[in-house]
């Protein structure tokens, strides 16, 4: 008996656990969100694997000037994939799950992004010319600086 309500306890009514909310989308085998996230995660991993495998393979046929954009394209595709997965996943949640889940999920994604940044920096030590961070951020700045310098000289 529940002393506060005088209602008999139902053995099927499992207690509330915050952790079960946190991991709802990933480890609760029966939830719609879980199935959805697992399916999308495999496809996301395929994106990453394809990027890692295809980038060095395409250098020779495409030439280094064009091949350096391959990781950018894969990076952009992965970013779109992550964004759509996250927004669609949130749609799978009900109001309480959305409220309690959003913050931990945002933290998780932050950690994943930080890990991606670290991996990007590690890649820099291997071959800086094909580093997505370099191509996206450093290359345009370098190009702009070169343009300014050549205009001044002219």
């Amino acid at each position: 008996m529940n002393p506060t309500t005088n209602v008999p306890d139902d053995p099927t009514d499992r207690p509330f656990r915050y952790s079960s909310i946190f991991w709802w989308g990933l480890f609760d085998k029966n939830s719609e969100g879980s199935r959805y996230m697992r399916r999308r995660s495999w496809i996301g991993l395929a994106f990453v694997a394809a990027g890692i495998l295809l980038t060095p393979m395409l250098r020779a046929p495409l030439g280094p000037e064009i091949a350096r954009f391959v990781p950018v394209i894969f990076g952009f595709a992965a970013a779109v994939w992550i964004a759509t997965t996250f927004t669609r996943y949130l749609r799978c949640l009900d109001e309480m799950q959305r409220q309690l889940h959003y913050e931990p999920m945002a933290i998780t994604y932050g950690v994943v992004m930080a890990a991606a940044l670290v991996l990007g920096c590690l890649q820099l030590t291997i071959d800086w010319r094909f580093n997505p961070l370099y191509v996206v951020f450093a290359e345009p700045i370098r190009g702009l600086a070169l343009a300014v310098v050549t205009r001044r000289r002219a």
Binding site: T12, D94, E95
Partner: protein, 67 residues
């Protein structure tokens, strides 16, 4: 906010999962509302009220008040 959700559910011999299905929310949400860890939104409160055919104030009451 306190509520009589658990009592109303037990009167009808429904499990949390069954009630959750009727309300189109997760079982965890029903549990969290019952134990007072989560206050439902107004649309969900109306849904609960319609399901049990009782006014909202008969199911939910502010802390300290007894219904």
């Amino acid at each position: 906010v306190t509520n009589r959700l658990r009592v109303l559910r037990a009167e009808r011999n429904w499990t949390q999962a069954a009630l959750a299905e009727k309300l189109e929310v997760s079982r965890q949400t029903v549990n969290a509302i019952e134990v007072g860890k989560y206050d439902p939104s107004l649309p969900l409160a109306f849904k609960i009220s319609q399901l049990f055919n009782q006014p909202i104030e008969a199911i939910f009451s502010p802390n300290g008040a007894r219904s």
